[in-house]
């Protein structure tokens, strides 16, 4: 499903070149639920950006769902993101002047799906995250948990191969975090490959596989005991 081979990426910080990732190789299979842990500066965000085709590695090969991700033009990258990847962010990143329904439907707009069909599908996905009754609300009228559920619905609507979440519970309280993680587990149970980045061990523990990054290297890659049952 995901095959990373010897991925390296460095940034220029002033005079110095900083290695964000050095020769990272990683294999994630269809239907896995992976948490990537690491402190800030460990390279986890860089890894997520590369997985999400928002960033390109300096060297190494990335294969996603059988497609070699290499030398894409910006518009091709946009199309791949739209078709293969759903993003969930820490700060939700909903468009504030659009209703919940319109936010969820937006990826389909870029797939040129007709408005009515778009709205119908978006409604189904809102219903799946339990927010059908909030369809006409603007993001400002939604709680943090609700916003994140809208964002998840938006990420899922294109039926992506991969759901990428960047600290999805970072801005939420414990109880709400629990609800969000439940949704991730549910979509994973239905067969969706989920990769989430977090620095909270108890969130990472809810995934089935836990990868720890430090200074651009994978230092541990374990299956969680609970998930083996």
């Amino acid at each position: 499903m995901i095959d990373l081979a010897d991925i390296s990426k460095s940034y220029l910080m002033g005079q110095h070149s900083v290695h964000a990732l050095s020769d990272v190789s990683l294999n994630i299979g269809q239907g896995e639920f992976v948490a990537i842990q690491g402190s800030s500066g460990s390279g986890k965000s860089t890894l997520l950006n590369i997985l999400g085709i928002l960033d390109t590695p300096d060297s190494g090969a990335y294969t996603l769902d059988g497609h070699v991700i290499e030398n894409l033009s910006t518009s091709d990258a946009a199309r791949y993101r739209n078709r293969f990847i759903g993003f969930v962010f820490q700060s939700f990143n909903l468009i504030h002047h659009k209703s919940a329904l319109e936010n969820v439907a937006l990826p389909l707009y870029y797939q040129k799906v007709a408005r009515k069909k778009r709205s119908r599908i978006a409604m189904e996905y809102l219903d799946r995250v339990g927010l059908a009754d909030r369809a006409d609300h603007k993001p400002a009228e939604l709680s943090g948990g609700q916003s994140q559920r809208v964002a998840i619905a938006r990420a899922l609507i294109t039926e992506p191969a991969l759901l990428l979440a960047d600290e999805p519970t970072g801005a939420l309280d414990t109880q709400t975090s629990e609800q969000i993680m439940q949704i991730f587990r549910d979509v994973n149970d239905q067969g969706m490959t989920v990769v989430l980045v977090t620095h909270e061990p108890d969130i990472a523990a809810q995934a089935r596989r836990s990868i720890v990054l430090r200074d651009g290297d994978i230092v541990s890659d374990l299956l969680n005991g609970s998930s083996l049952l």
Binding site: S75, A78, N93, K112, R154
Partner: protein, 423 residues
């Protein structure tokens, strides 16, 4: 490209930031409005002035003899130059480019009046001897009868064409005066017409006080012999009356033995010079209007560019989100340009409509004044050439799009990783 989906996206974005939309739109609106109103007023003033001058042939030249100021061929200075009917024939034969040559003679000096009598009534009038072609110099219509005709000239008939005021004072407004007699210096003339200048301008009383008789009759009964007072001349279309007048003077100088350098031997006045001066004034006004109007529009365009720049900076995150969920750079560019085009187009057209409405209201208010018969206001219905107005708006749209290209290009290049970095 401009499908319904894009429209509703644009509408949402513009609606979501009302104040910004309103400010940008008002810049464009105002620019177009000002341009339209100023162009309308410019046209209104111009047609007002043109209307006030419509009573005169705008290119007529008047030429008369004065006194020589230089000795020539043994003749002393100070001789007065008297024009006569032979001069008329010589001018017609030797000067090219004359469309109308009307020799005139007056009973008194310029603007001087003499008594006209009918029965027990007396009034004063400017009395002249004229030829039929004088009608081209002073365009006129007839309330009664006709103008002097060639047979009047040929047979030196004692007939007269009178102005409106003379008619009213001697006969009464509703009385048909044709065939009635009037006396000038105890000589009887038969009234054959009552004329009305095509436009009175500011000379209503004077134009109504003219009494016109056949030139030949006038010369005979008032003992003028072959003498001519002055010439009124209209050149062929496309010729300058001043140039033709110069040629006429050359011919007359030879005939009257005047030093060709003696410019004081003849006097002339032409309305063309006045006309050209007014033309030049209008060119100036027009240039001023366009300069101010285009500057206002340019300010509007810069405003659009500026506000789009700010808007795009504010919406960095939104563009980052859009790109992360599959917006291509091209679709971002298209969206921004379409937003600008919509904003400029709608506010431009609204400005055009508001400008036209304002002109319409001005016309409604001024109509009673400008349309009255003896209007002396130099203003008429303000009009606009719609083609020019629409071209101005199109140019404005193109300029705005070009001005938005830079910020839009900026938005295209937004890196979603950067834009979405949690704050």
């Amino acid at each position: 490209m401009m499908d319904r989906e894009l429209w509703s996206e644009i509408w949402q974005v513009l609606k979501s930031n009302r104040l910004r939309t309103l400010l940008t739109a008002s810049g464009i609106f105002w620019g177009v409005f000002i341009l339209i109103v100023m162009l309308g007023f410019g046209n209104g003033i111009q047609s007002g002035v043109n209307k006030s001058m419509a009573g005169y042939a705008t290119n007529a030249l008047y030429l008369w003899g004065q006194a020589t100021s230089k000795p020539w061929q043994g003749l002393p200075p100070g001789r007065s130059v008297r024009l006569n009917s032979d001069d008329t024939m010589a001018l017609q034969a030797r000067v090219d480019g004359i469309a109308t040559l009307a020799p005139r003679v007056r009973l008194a000096r310029y603007r001087g009046r003499s008594d006209v009598v009918s029965g027990s009534k007396v009034t004063d009038a400017e009395i002249s001897g004229d030829v039929p072609s004088f009608r081209h110099v002073l365009p006129m219509t007839f309330k009664f009868g006709r103008f002097i005709n060639p047979i009047d000239i040929e047979s030196k008939r004692k007939v007269a064409v009178i102005g409106e005021r003379i008619h009213r004072d001697l006969f009464g407004e509703d009385v048909d005066p044709l065939g009635k007699q009037i006396q000038i210096r105890q000589i009887s003339f038969t009234v054959v017409g009552v004329f009305k200048p095509r436009r009175y301008g500011s000379n209503r009383e004077r134009m109504g006080s003219l009494v016109i008789t056949p030139l030949t009759t006038f010369q005979q009964v008032f003992n003028y012999g072959q003498e001519i007072g002055f010439y009124a001349m209209i050149p062929e279309p496309g010729l300058r009356s001043e140039a033709v007048g110069e040629e006429m003077q050359q011919v007359l100088m030879q005939r009257h033995r005047v030093d060709p350098a003696d410019h004081r031997a003849f006097g002339n006045w032409n309305s063309e010079t006045e006309f050209l001066r007014i033309e030049r004034l209008f060119i100036g006004i027009r240039a001023f209007i366009w300069t101010v109007g285009l500057a206002t529009l340019l300010a509007g365009v810069l405003g659009v560019s500026n506000i789009m720049m700010i808007a795009i900076r504010e919406r960095r995150r939104e563009f980052g989100i859009r790109k992360s969920i599959g917006a291509t750079p091209r679709s971002v560019l298209t969206m921004i340009l379409a937003e600008t085009a919509t904003l400029v187009g709608v506010s431009g057209v609204l400005g055009l409509i508001a400008g036209l409405l304002a002109l319409f209201v001005v016309d409604l208010i001024t109509r009673p004044i400008t349309k009255s018969v003896d209007a002396e206001v130099l203003f008429d219905t303000p009009t606009i050439d719609l083609k020019i107005a629409i071209a101005a708006i199109l140019a404005l749209g193109v300029a705005s799009l070009l001005a938005t290209l830079i910020p839009a290009h900026h938005a295209m290049k937004i890196d979603p990783v950067e834009a979405l970095r949690a704050e």
